[in-house]
Symmetry: C2
Subunit: 147 residues, 2 copies
């Protein structure tokens, strides 16, 4: 595989990722929530349960200070609460409020809308295969907010 082919793949990958993020965010805003793009990815981690600030930092690939600031913002906007952690008095357990859950669902729906469109474009089975391959390439890597 020549260099030019590698480059073209790189471009396509980054353009697709950028469009996905943009459209998820648009979709969330259209559903009546305010929020930066990173919100959705923070929500899914918090929704999974048992999340702390440090977990979130690892998930997003940023420092724990940055994650803490993000959580501040989410708390201020009423999406998340900090609770005492049952097994570690240093840590705080992050939990979604009702509005946080609603925002999370909105993000999921927006993502599903985009993916549905792509599915129509390249074929459902092909898209599924694409997902499987991407998962093999980068299984649970961080979802960095920028590059």
């Amino acid at each position: 595989m020549q260099n030019s082919e590698a480059l073209s793949l790189s471009f396509a990958l980054l353009a697709t990722a950028g469009e996905l993020v943009r459209r998820i965010n648009d979709g969330v805003v259209a559903r009546g929530f305010e929020g930066r793009s990173a919100y959705g990815f923070a929500f899914t981690r918090i929704a999974a349960g048992g999340a702390t600030v440090s977990d979130l930092a690892g998930h997003l690939g940023v420092t724990k200070q940055a994650a803490s600031q993000l959580v501040d913002e989410l708390v201020r906007k009423g999406y998340v609460e900090r609770r005492p952690h049952p097994r570690d008095a240093r840590a705080r357990l992050l939990v979604l409020t009702e509005r946080g859950w609603a925002n999370t669902r909105a993000a999921e729906e927006a993502a599903a809308d985009v993916v549905r469109e792509w599915s129509a474009l390249v074929g459902e089975e092909e898209l599924r295969a694409l997902g499987r391959q991407l998962l093999r390439i980068a299984p649970n890597g961080p979802i960095r907010p920028s590059w």
Copy 2:
């Protein structure tokens, strides 16, 4: 396709894109160049020929002021020169210096290294198919430096 599947695809896509950018940048640094991640993508546009600041801004999906600042930096570091534009006295034609070309080649090699590794992981033909599908999904969209 359910929401959870769409989410998993989204995660995989973003994690993969993030890893690609990180590793291209590491590869370029390892080859002796300094530079932010956005450099490589600016270089490929400038290398293509006929680029102006506005073109670059469109390519990167940022304002022309931001693109101009990036070009300042590239000029200061000796990668790019601003030349008078042959057909428009307002515009400046961006051209790579010899060192700029070397950096561009380094970025291409680094990208090729990563893609080669992925190729071994999922199969060359599969990866090629993946590239084709991504190109259908997001043909020449901007390569945004962040989300």
